[in-house]
Symmetry: C2
């Protein structure tokens, strides 16, 4: 409970002095603004310095989601020519999509044209609204298709050359090949999805209100099913619950006793990626709100009007529904699957990159965000080379001094699992680990390890390899990281700043990508939010809702969206949500 | 020029003291607010007084446009049960649709749920989202169809009984059966049309930006054609021009020299319903703005990529286009056509009603707004009965006293053309007209007219019969008028307040509907608007733009839309229009 205390006090302060929250909101918004302003004015590179006559390197960026947009926003070096290709000409602030589904926030308020994001730079950026359907690393080309007919023959395809390719196409919803999901369910990945859900909710209420229907049919139509108890599914369920109880029942009084929201989750709890306290609170709140949470329910089939789910015991139940929102996780896009086959990654689930976000087996191709995973190198794979590298005098024994001189810091940078392992054991450095191993082996002379002893000291370390979650936060940090690498490519070629190359000579150009988790929110409806911050600080309730408002307002990519989102919130407080079917 | 002076001064005052405009804006908005507030609180009838045991009369209202919404808003008598049926569950503030096409105002800001409009009353109002496809006056039923499948057999149709039917379904765009219009043109009647146009404009810019196109193709794609030089067409053309020059060229710099806007108008001038000064100003402004206005161009055919038009000389020219917005006038909806055939009005262009908005030949069916026209009774048709009614003593001669006693006021109320005729001749009353006729006939004894003399005196009068324009203003006034008639139906049954029945006994229950023209605006882009106010006052320029803002803000149906529309305008001033393709 210790880490809880500080945040608990912090959050209690907000409870006791609600005005504090407003101050935080205002200051965070203006803080965000200052950052945005300074960003808009920053110009690290002058255009004049680049006209050296050499051809600019062409960077092709696929995708304009969190990864793509933050790469584009942070890239500053004018020695590149950037070509952005995406089927959407805007960046969408996806954490607010559940709010868009019920009109708490308008769709227009969470999008910003990509051209605006790229425009502020002294960088040559151009944009093509098209979808890449094939990547050809051999000829260094991407093949694209526009949704619109192009030339007089209606040709819709074209290709684009690249010097560097940055793949940030994101993922698609995962149906797990369950029959009927694709045809009958709504997903919640794109702005259009959210708009469609909003229209369908209103449609359901209008439909249930028509004559010639019996009670049972009306109940079916007003039965909203959410599949997946992750943050998106949970947030949608609570948004919908608020929309219904705060706004719709006033206009559709007859519907009040007919509406039902059901949440199906295959695991034993919802919000499993969060602290247990949050999970419990959410489950209790949903039960109080009348949201029917069915845990341990695996969907097996979706028909036009009913959905079948199997419990862990194997019982299959079929329930009629009016609308389903499917939010169970992500799957690989076809273009990425095809590319993975080409480069021999066909049996993987996502594009594997090394720790510098470069696609394994490809030069000059980088992948980030939800379409990729970092394939963290294991210490055990490299243990022989680590030993060799460290054993400067080739004595076959590693002294503590050798270890510290050559490799102490580098090994933690190169293999972040080492640091995590040490932390989990309460140790300050590798020396401690080596000492302990020696002590366990009954020796207490100055540290001197054989390769077998080193292996035995480090053999548990790789259990700490962490996979990054598929969140916007990870994608955005990767985008920023890669942009900084691109900015300093030439500079770091000369003065590499990464860790020692274990299997080769010299140093890596850059430090590998490291994710800094800043916390995560789970809005639970009724102006209550659960927040889990670094160090496992947990806060639940109205105060975190204000923190949520503050953080999401400050994280907006532009002043326009910031003002719009905040005014949407205010509008909702005053007038409620609109139920016009447009 | 005389009437121009007052408004000229008024508008000059605004020029010299721009702050005045802001004051007007603020005061008009708050004024509108006060009205809205008092309306919300007004409750003329208490629910308690109605429970008399008799069945409530069922009023079925078809349509939720200007006519339907204002009828619904103003109806207060709780002795009715109101059933609203419309395919749209919202009222749309149509004068702002051209602004929605370019994102100056958001679609959501101009709509208000019908249920909100009907909810404030102590009146029993219910709404069905469906389209009426057949009216059966014989069985007093309307047959409706929902867009959504209904019962388990997917039946989508149902019928509704009525005691009174109020038809306010509006009109549809008129294609004049010109081939290709339906398939290739955008209309601008519904909110969805405006949203679609917005997406298509952005699509055009994205498409013209793609590779593999030659200059000619790019020019074609960025050629926007507006057909129809009425207020809607003109406003759309100027909105589009502003959108392109103020916002899009910044993001699509290459498109700057390729964009072209063409306005095709079959008549000799645009905005023909306005004063000549406005027409001239608009044509000059468009020519300065580079909008190509082709007058006297009759569209003959629209293909997928080009449009053919014929000049008055008979020359046919074909021009390639990227997008067409068709805004040439209104046509009859199929359901109304079918109904007209049933009641023997098959050869008319719109549903004919009498001056009390009751459909001719039908009891208890009323029609208002764009789907109907008032068939104003001619004086000459009734001249024999007028004479008989006035000639109390059956002397075969009409004395001035007889005339004044029986019919003087009533005739002006019953036949508004009489008043218009007198005004056009500078006379104060019918007595003047009769005197003049007598004088022309060389007689100067106290007025005493034969039927022939009365006929000759009034024979010119019917030339002044005016058809009402198909505007929201007319429709709204009709809705309010009819609601008031319905409210006072019983009361006026006992104490009729209308004019004398010329062909029957007693008086009409109500005074006939009279339209009060409050003026009309034509926004011309670049923060300039032309305004034509009653008495032919004309004002053009920035000051009228502020007047336009004030009037449109105050005319919003709810506080929510009022706040949203004003904040959209402010947002546009600060951040420009958004160009995300959603």
């Amino acid at each position: 409970m210790k880490p809880f205390t500080f945040f608990g006090r912090f959050s209690r302060a907000f409870h006791d002095h609600p005005s504090l929250s407003r101050i935080l909101l205002v200051s965070t918004i203006s803080g965000g603004g200052l950052i945005a302003y300074s960003e808009a004015n920053a110009s690290f590179y002058s255009n004049n310095g680049v006209e050296t006559g050499t051809r600019k390197k062409k960077v092709v960026l696929l995708g304009t989601g969190w990864a793509g947009a933050s790469f584009l926003k942070d890239l500053n070096n004018p020695s590149y020519e950037v070509q952005v290709i995406s089927p959407r000409n805007y960046f969408a602030f996806t954490p607010l999509l559940p709010s868009v589904t019920c009109g708490t926030v308008e769709a227009r308020s969470v999008v910003e044209p990509v051209r605006n994001i790229g425009r502020k730079k002294n960088l040559e950026v151009s944009f093509l609204e098209a979808e890449c359907f094939r990547i050809d690393p051999g000829s260094k080309k991407v093949y694209c298709r526009s949704k619109q007919g192009l030339d007089s023959k209606g040709k819709k395809e074209f290709d684009v050359d690249y010097d560097y390719l940055v793949i940030a196409t994101g993922a698609q919803s995962n149906t797990f090949n369950i029959p009927g999901v694709e045809e009958n369910c709504h997903f919640l990945k794109e702005v259009e999805d959210a708009q469609r859900i909003r229209r369908t909710v209103i449609d359901s209420f209008e439909k249930a209100n028509l004559p010639n229907l019996n009670e049972e049919e009306r109940k079916r139509i007003l039965h909203f099913v959410v599949v997946g108890g992750g943050p998106t599914g949970v947030e949608f369920a609570s948004e919908l619950h608020d929309f219904v109880t705060e706004d719709l029942v006033k206009l559709y009084p007859k519907a009040k006793n007919l509406v039902q929201i059901t949440l199906l989750e295959a695991a034993d709890h919802i919000l499993t990626m969060f602290d247990k306290r949050i999970t419990e609170f959410a489950e209790e709140k949903f039960s109080r709100d009348g949201i029917d949470v069915k845990l341990g329910s695996m969907v097996t089939k979706v028909n036009e009007k009913d959905i079948s789910a199997k419990t862990k015991g194997g019982e299959v139940s079929t329930i009629p529904y009016g609308m389903i929102v499917w939010s169970t996780g992500i799957g690989t896009r076809p273009v990425i699957k095809d590319f993975m086959k080409q480069i021999g990654q066909g049996n993987r689930r996502a594009l594997a990159t090394n720790e510098w976000l470069r696609v394994e087996g490809c030069d000059n191709i980088y992948a980030l965000g939800d379409c990729a995973t970092i394939n963290q190198r294991k210490v055990m794979e490299d243990i022989v080379d680590i030993f060799k590298k460290a054993d400067k005098d080739n004595s076959g024994k590693l002294t503590q001094r050798e270890f510290q001189e050559v490799i102490d810091d580098d090994i933690c940078v190169r293999y972040p699992q080492v640091e995590l392992y040490l932390k989990s054991k309460g140790m300050r450095g590798i020396a401690d680990l080596l000492k302990q191993t020696q002590a366990e082996n009954g020796s207490n002379k100055p540290i001197e390890l054989s390769i077998e002893e080193l292996t035995s000291a480090l053999c548990q370390v790789d259990s700490q390899v962490k996979f990054l979650p598929a969140t916007g936060q990870v994608a955005a940090q990767q985008g920023t990281y890669l942009a900084k690498c691109f900015d300093r490519m030439e500079e770091c070629e000369k003065n590499p700043e990464g860790p020692i190359r274990i299997r080769g000579e010299g140093r890596h150009r850059f430090r590998p990508f490291r994710y800094r988790h800043l916390g995560q929110f789970a809005p639970l409806g009724g102006e209550q939010t659960a927040a889990q911050l670094p160090g496992d600080w947990v806060s639940i309730g109205h105060s975190s809702q204000w923190l949520w408002y503050s953080v999401y307002a400050s994280k907006q990519v532009s002043w326009r969206t910031r003002v719009l989102v905040v005014s949407d919130w205010v509008r909702r407080f005053i007038f409620g949500r609109d139920s016009s079917r447009i």
